[in-house]
């Protein structure tokens, strides 16, 4: 066989393999969508389509409330993470003080603490402060868990900004707060976006913190709501799939828009 033809066949085989992998990766989503548009009977029969399960879902579960709760907790958590990571990153990269290197390492080591290792005392503490079923307790816990990596990303990013820029502004009489607001924050928009996208998906998708801290039906997030539904006695699979779709959709949209930032955030761990 001539080498040109051999290469074409090889590329065809590769394409075929990649297609098979794509089917394996996407099939669950197809299953989820198709199933959600069937009633219970249609699901058993394996044919026909209807909106029964969707109306059933909206009747059985306060979807809009749960979406609102998820939005509050996610927005609050991300906002708090952004506040502490941008200010912290600024301090650790440009305003180094005596021992700041060690302090920075201490913050980073937070990444090595599994949530489960501290969740019991944290839960008891916040329960003493009447934080159970309050959004603020979940927001604080999410922020504390997300902040170490976010601070790492911000610090690395700020280190790339020339220090001369800050020194020049200081000579012009700008305060460190003004420099932060007028110089550092605008320059860091790409890093801020990456942190925000990573954390939105992280918090939106989380179960454990939500399950423990905000489990009352009135304050439940959609992810917790879905888990409760699954573990309940009602087992309408199409309805569960419809619920899954609703809960996954916001994160998928964020993913589709900000895919690039997500990949950047992920690979930053190796490149630096």
């Amino acid at each position: 066989m001539d080498p040109k033809r051999r290469r074409r066949i090889a590329r065809l085989v590769m394409f075929a393999i990649l297609c098979v992998v794509a089917v394996i990766m996407l099939f669950p989503f197809v299953l989820m969508i198709v199933t959600s548009f069937r009633s219970k009977d249609q699901y058993v029969a394996g044919e026909g389509f209807s909106l029964d399960s969707w109306s059933q879902l909206f009747a059985a579960v306060p979807i809009l409330t749960q979406l609102r709760n998820s939005t509050i907790v996610t927005a609050g958590g991300v906002a708090l993470i952004l506040v502490v990571s941008t200010t912290g990153g600024y301090a650790f990269s440009k305003l180094t003080f005596k021992g700041s290197g060690l302090v920075f390492l201490a913050v980073l080591s937070g990444m090595m603490i599994p949530m489960q290792s501290i969740i019991i005392p944290v839960y008891v503490n916040l329960a003493h402060l009447k934080g159970v079923n309050q959004f603020w307790s979940a927001i604080i816990v999410y922020a504390a868990l997300g902040a170490p990596f976010a601070t790492y990303l911000m610090t690395t990013y700020y280190r790339g900004i020339p220090t001369e820029l800050i020194e020049a502004s200081v000579m012009d009489g700008a305060s460190y707060w003004q420099i932060f607001r007028k110089v550092m924050l605008p320059l860091a928009i790409p890093a801020i976006t990456t942190v925000a996208v990573l954390q939105v998906i992280q918090i939106w998708d989380d179960l454990l913190v939500g399950l423990l801290f905000i489990n009352d039906p009135a304050v439940r997030t959609i992810t917790v709501g879905l888990a409760v539904l699954q573990n309940g006695r009602v087992v309408s699979i199409p309805m569960l799939m419809a619920g899954s779709l609703v809960s996954a959709l916001p994160a998928i949209i964020v993913y589709l828009i900000f895919q690039r930032n997500l990949i950047q955030g992920l690979t930053m761990g190796v490149n630096k």
């Binding site: 590329r11 990649l18 506040v83 501290i118 005392p121 998708d205 993913y255």
Partner: protein
Amino acid sequence: MTTTATPLDASSAPAAPRRRRTGLRRKQHIAGVLFALPVLILEGTILAVGLGQAIYYSFTRWDGIQSTWIGLGNYQRLFADMNFWRVVLNNLILLAAVPVAILIPLLVAYLLNEHVLGWRFFRSAYFLPTAISWVVIGMVAIRVFAVEGILNNLLAAVGIDLQTNLLSGEYSAMLAVAITFIWSVFGTNTIIFITGMATLDREIYEAARVDGATGFTTFRKITIPMLMRFIQFAFILTLITGFTALFSLIFIMTGGGPGFGSTTLEFYVYQQGFKVGAFGYAAAIGIVLFVVVFGISVAQLRLFRSRLD
């Protein structure tokens, strides 16, 4: 760095020309501390205090309100607890799944890197599960492994009539969780390896081709060694994900069962703490998990360092 000089320098030698500079530096130090405060307060009150308490309470019998010091009691009980060793075994199964969760993405990334038709689409499709919650993944996985589910149908189509639900077997449940886990981290690892391969020099491949090396040989002799740093990173990330991020998946898929068939360390903490109410005992399990994860992380840092030297 001048900022880490001893404080004596500033106070004992306030030479006149330096006064303005030291004044500025002091202002900068104060600003630095102030800007670092928010993250320190947050991490201090939640993570540091939490970890300190977890360590302390792991030596007590604790119900959330009252605690009694029992020394190493919890740890002694832990090592004599047969269920604990079953749980450790489950973590070892996850550990065994990690090489698979590395190798498949490595091969696929190698193919993607050839930039065949539609490779951008494939990349997005593979990475999509990264955005999906473990809860949703678990829900779909249950349907895949069900008796009438896709897996059995597929196997039946090729002549293997199993008719079993992996999730209902005490030993097969963990296998199902591990398979789902491998599926979930596939996209992330593929992306890591594609990023790594983009840093490789194409000329090496050309040279290898000229020398008559086949695809598999170049993969084994060039790609893998050159990507070692990325493979190591993916390995640690996958392992830590497996040990600390599968709570929701297990909660949905199996609830840790049958028996302790799919309870991992992190799930055992939740189960002993919030289901049984043995907070002190659960804290001790959490500390064991912390030691394991911390050890893995430190080992990774060591490896990175030794490579840099």
